[in-house]
Symmetry: C2
């Protein structure tokens, strides 16, 4: 079972963006240099983050992206919901036949999902920024 990578990308991006002034647009090219993620891919993953209101962008020459929330206020859970609609527990039965019942298997896996969400809710962007970005470029 893998922990989401797109949410991971998004959080790295946001954390990197957070190291800049929030009123001076940072071009995607710069974020790309910092993170190693291609400009095109950054453009893609930044879309939902804009829709969610985490990022604001200005177009045209000397445009770019700005974080418009404080890092301590964004949790990994929020990022994950924005990027992939949160944590999806498995369908219990192949044919959905258990949806109506009080099925122990289903509720067990639901509680796993819930616990995971809770953990994700306890970590903010600020937690991802503790290191020096020059020395530890992977944020």
């Amino acid at each position: 079972m893998r922990i989401s990578t797109t949410a991971h990308y998004a959080s790295r991006l946001l954390a990197n963006l957070a190291t800049y002034d929030s009123d001076k647009p940072v071009p995607a090219a710069v974020l790309s240099d910092n993170t190693g993620i291609s400009v095109k891919f950054i453009e893609k993953i930044i879309r939902p983050l804009k829709t969610a209101g985490f990022v604001r962008s200005v177009r045209g020459a000397s445009g770019g992206h700005m974080l418009c929330i404080r890092p301590e206020q964004v949790t990994l859970g929020q990022v994950l919901r924005v990027m992939e609609g949160g944590v999806q527990p498995p369908q219990c039965c192949p044919d959905q036949s258990c949806g109506e019942h009080d099925c122990a298997a289903r509720s067990a896996w639901n509680s796993v999902a819930q616990a995971l969400e809770q953990t994700l809710e306890s970590i903010t962007l600020a937690d991802l920024m503790r290191d020096n970005l020059d020395r530890y470029p992977c944020q």
Copy 2:
């Protein structure tokens, strides 16, 4: 982000198997009837469970599968490790460049993985068996 479905299948299978005498082989066809999972697919997902020592099988006519551990002794975490090698946190950097550093982003995601594993460790097969199987066939 999706919660593992193969581990879910495996746990359903084991929980169903646990409702039978552990010294009388249950054919895959019966498990298939109970769970709605095809015989062939059951054969496949039961392989690693045998290797792990959770299940024992006898071949030939009137053969089948038997659970050879007690349901309270098998956690979802164990099942998941057997089926897919546990919880994999995301690679921090695309080029692995952060593997050596003390990277906050990496350790944050590692702690998510760890918390998830801990939750999985707290749920056993027995927890998946609380309901009546006739009324709630999806286990």
